[in-house]
């Protein structure tokens, strides 16, 4: 079975600092996508960044970047210049569920402190 593991239930960072959230996954698919979703207190699931497994180049979106290590099945999210609005739950997810669904980790609660 495909799994996604986030080993950090909670993290905190000072405003303007950099933080890295960890994620490991296990899949039997040859081609797949990996995602980080942000869930603020409003509960809305917001796509932060997406990585295509066949691309070696790490994806970046403004202050958000990933470190994708395919052989190690690792997909960490780096947030630079953290802002108070980054406070949220962050979920790592992989594609390739047997029904076309995403497989989610349990999430990391990030608090950005002023």
């Amino acid at each position: 079975a495909q799994t996604v593991t986030q080993s950090q239930p909670e993290m905190s960072v000072q405003e303007a600092e950099t933080v890295t959230l960890s994620c490991t996954y296990d899949t039997s698919e040859n081609n797949y996508y990996l995602f980080w979703y942000k869930q603020p207190p409003s509960r809305q699931m917001i796509l932060v960044i997406r990585q295509e497994a066949y691309k070696q180049q790490n994806a970046t979106e403004n202050r958000f970047s990933v470190n994708f290590q395919k052989a190690a099945k690792s997909f960490s999210l780096k947030i630079s210049d953290s802002q108070l609005g980054d406070t949220a739950m962050y979920f790592c997810a992989s594609s390739g569920g047997s029904q076309g669904n995403l497989i989610f980790g349990k999430g990391t609660k990030l608090s950005v402190k002023p």
Binding site: M45, F91, Q99, G100, L102, K106
Partner: protein, 118 residues
């Protein structure tokens, strides 16, 4: 373009009652999903649909039913509600998954429905 919309946002249900959670998307996506999110957990798939008239079970389908009469709508029905169905419910839609059309697997989520069964 509203994306994926869900109603209601909140609801309290009594044990044994039934209700329908509504989900509508305006992106002409064929694939639609219902997930539930329990406290401290990620999302788990309840049911999914690959197009109008076609639905199938996900990981946790017991106590739920779905229908898909149009591309836009994918309602989730709870029959004989139980406290174990207290959760936050998310509807999502996407293009066909990777490998079946070449489109990315990005799923677009609705705002969720917080359901409490007492």
């Amino acid at each position: 373009n509203a994306g994926v919309t869900q109603t209601p946002k909140f609801h309290i249900l009594k044990i044994g009652q039934s209700m329908t959670l509504q989900c509508t998307q305006d992106m002409n996506h064929n694939y639609m999903y219902w997930y539930r999110q329990d406290p401290g957990m990620g999302l788990k798939l309840i049911y999914y649909s690959v197009g109008a008239g076609i639905t199938d079970k996900g990981e946790v389908p017991n106590g739920y039913n779905v229908s898909r009469s149009t591309t836009e709508d994918f309602p989730l029905r709870l029959e004989l509600a139980a406290p174990s169905q207290t959760s936050v419910y998310f509807c999502a839609s996407s293009y066909p998954p990777l490998g079946r059309s070449g489109s990315p697997d990005t799923q677009y989520f609705g705002p969720g429905t917080r359901l409490t069964v007492l």
